[in-house]
Amino acid sequence: MTALEKDVVTEPGPAVEPRGRLAALAPYATALRAAGGLLTVIGAYLPWATFVLNEGPYPEKATLEFFTAPFGVSGFRLHLLVFGIVALVLAFVRTLPSRGRILRALGWGIVAVTVANGLYLTVLGGGFGAITAADGAVAFGAIVALIGGALVLVGAFAGGLGEQLRWGRPLGRYAEWAILLVVFTLLLLLVAAVLTSGGQGSVANPYSGAVFLSFLGAVGGLLAALHAAGVLTWVTAMSERHRAFSAIVLLVVALALPLTGAGTQYWMTVAANIGVYAATAIGLNIVVGLAGLLDLGYVAFLGIGAVVAANFSGATAARFDIVLPFPLVMVISAVVAGIFGAIVGSPTLRVRGDYLAIVTLAFGEIFVRSSQNNIGGLTGGSNAIPGIPPVSAFGQAFNEKLTVGSVELPAGALYYFLIVVIVAAVMAVFGNLKNSRLGRAWIAIREDEDAARAMGIRTGPVKILAFMIGATLAGLAGAFFAHKTGTVSYESFRFLESVTLLAAVILGGMGTIPGAVLGASILFVLPEKLREFSDYRLLIFGIALVLIMRFRPQGLVPDSHRRAELAPEAEPPPPDPGTGTATGKVAVQ
């Protein structure tokens, strides 16, 4: 008991700046944590809006007039209630060495949920009156919960963060399979919940953005708490031990998405779009993440694939009068894009670093300009190529509903299945390449090209191969994109799209598969969900890019191998090199 206590106090957490100043509060840490948890619970049971906003009463019956607590608490107030209770309990559980970290995660979660809802209320309600008092009515829910969250945070830092919990030895194979099965099913439900939370924004549903952001904050807090408790590391290590099993289960789980709450045409379309960009981002990840060659014109390969597919689709504006079956078209698109990839990559023989970035940018711009001018009658110019027929197989068009027995799949589900398969294939290519001789050559070139050459790597062909393979994958995604959207226009392949893809790779974490998928999902779900900010979308995007580079250049899911390129020099080694993910990866190789 005492040994644990001592550990908690002396063990230095990661450098969190206010810790030194907050150390004086250490004796009150438990009280602060408990008070924070309690205030959060109280906040969840208080009304949040004094009056009915113009758009209608605030969700989860949080408006005073429609207020239901203490009988029913749902949505974000339920999340706060749970967080508050857990914080309250953890404040008094002295046996858990990582409780400081868990509390920190919970505190950030509470703050995120509260700030999201409070800001929406304040802005939509036209001032602080909405969350304080108006016309004799009071609604301090937001303020009380915010104070609660802040106190939990202060308490967490003041009492010391402690270490991330490490979970015990491997279990038996079947036990681990069962656990993985459960975890991935939960993951599916979580993804479906995040995707659908808040619903589709519309006049009838004005608070979709608020609900979504709040839910995202809660999920973030939950995941961070699980990470602090060591659960995520444990599960990751487990799935690394059972790679093949995990891959199969994940694929099945991904294919099961239409059966969840996300199984409507709208969400299927959104999910398929995310898939296109995820596949493209993984391709870009080969070039940028593995080989370290910055490509600023990458979206052109998606465009080339799409244009090729459009021209063989039988659309009236197509250049060729040939209609080829879709699988063949995909192959042709991929090959053509790959050839262009080799052309674009050929300057890498002589050009390095940021000059190479400019060369790729120039190629991208040449593609945009040429297709805008309808070069060779291939791209439709400013009229685009409209009316590309949907993919169909066995008489079933992919954009229509499908009923199998008693299960009715929503329209668009078939496209979703197709893109899941494509993404899985791209992931398999990426994963295998990364651990191959070629992948190691890329990583060596990324770290130090001259040293790589000295080690006998033929850097020229290897670099061109990186461009070629990346472009091939993008071409594959492009063929799908053309048929799914039905229209191919140069507008979809401008410089900004390349930057967005690059940002997806960087945000997620360079050189990792989950990173690219996560980054693509975030960058394409957020604009879909937060349409009320659509005017500020790019502004926020640009600022976010600057902030990521400054504060988390390694991305959300950093590559354990990759430290030299982007992490700041003074970055301490990863917290637990001896356990978890690292062990799993070493064991696999």
């Binding site: 910055l294 002589r350 400019i358 120039a362 300009r369 805008q372 900004l496 600057v546 580079m549 982007l566």
Partner: protein, 310 residues
């Protein structure tokens, strides 16, 4: 025939002078901190909006039409706005990444570029479309007689050429002869040794950004006056051209930047006239030139021999 050729050359020189003015900022910043400042094109664009704001909101109507009062004030306003934005950008976006790996500042520069362009679109009234720019300078053209016709040269075009040459000369003198210019050259050669010699590299770097931004701001206003409108996407386009010019001339070299600017201007004008595809493809030729230069002669006309870049 001759008059067509000469008119295109004149057009090319005007465009080239403008691009050269912007390229100076690229070349100086790259020379000192080896950063491709993507956002420099946006600094140029913001300069034009600064001048426009001065004209629309601050100038009394009485002197709006008196170009000899209005134009200098517009130029000062444009340069001031550009300088302000550039200093903030350097302080908050680039300086924290001074010792970060190369990729980080480059991506930051992309982010700054997007953010600046969008900030103007969202916050400047009416900037969602092209805005008319006042013709605060004498309108009209000088028809230069040549055998077989005349060559038109807009007065504003002549102004751009003159201003560009004068400012380049001034900048060159400053960098070569002044104490601060010597500090700049020292910093660009070796920042650490310069620091040992008592130079404050941060000050020098800020000064570099300031000079480049002032030139870009002036160019922005001049471009607006010449075109008669300004638009938020002018920055990206001209920024890329200017970068091409800087590389073509030899990055780090002042006279190289201007020479490269003229070369790019001529490629654009003559390529649009004589090469297949016409003006629709003039941008493509510039990018072709860019790729060719980077691949075959990355040190440009006046640059030092190629350094190893990681």
């Amino acid at each position: 025939m001759l008059s067509t050729l000469l008119s295109q050359i004149v057009n090319g020189l005007v465009t080239g002078a403008l691009i050269g003015l912007i390229a100076l900022g690229y070349t100086m910043v790259y020379g000192i901190i080896q950063l491709i400042n993507f956002a420099h094109g946006e600094i140029f664009m913001i300069g034009s909006y600064g001048g426009l704001a001065m004209f629309t909101y601050l100038l009394p109507t009485a002197i709006q039409n008196q170009w000899y009062f209005a134009l200098p004030l517009l130029l000062i306003a444009g340069a001031a706005v550009s300088v302000g934005v550039a200093v903030l950008m350097e302080r908050f976006a680039y300086r924290p990444l001074r010792n970060a790996p190369r990729l980080a500042p480059l991506i930051t520069a992309l982010g700054v570029s997007v953010a600046l362009q969008e900030a103007v679109r969202v916050f400047y009234p009416g900037a969602t479309a092209a805005l008319p720019f006042p013709k605060a300078f004498v309108e009209g053209t000088w028809e230069i007689p040549v055998p077989g016709g005349t060559v038109p040269l807009r007065w504003t075009g002549l102004l751009i050429i003159v201003v560009a040459l004068v400012l380049t000369f001034a900048l060159n003198t400053f960098v070569n002869n002044s104490r601060m210019g010597r500090a700049m050259r020292a910093t660009s050669q070796d920042r650490d040794v310069a620091r040992l010699m008592g130079i404050d590299p941060d000050r020098v770097i800020v000064l570099t950004f300031v000079l480049g931004a002032a030139l870009a701001g002036v160019a922005g206003v001049l471009n607006g006056v010449d075109l008669g409108f300004t638009n938020i996407d002018l920055g990206f386009q001209n920024g890329i051209f200017a970068f091409t010019a800087a590389v073509l001339g030899g990055i780090g070299s002042i006279k190289g930047a201007v020479a490269g600017g003229f070369a790019i201007g001529l490629v654009k004008a003559l390529g649009g006239q004589y090469l297949p595809g016409g003006t629709a493809y003039d941008y493509v030729w510039i990018f072709v030139v860019l790729i060719a230069v980077l691949v075959f002669r990355p040190q440009g006309f006046f640059g030092e021999t190629e350094r190893v870049r990681a």
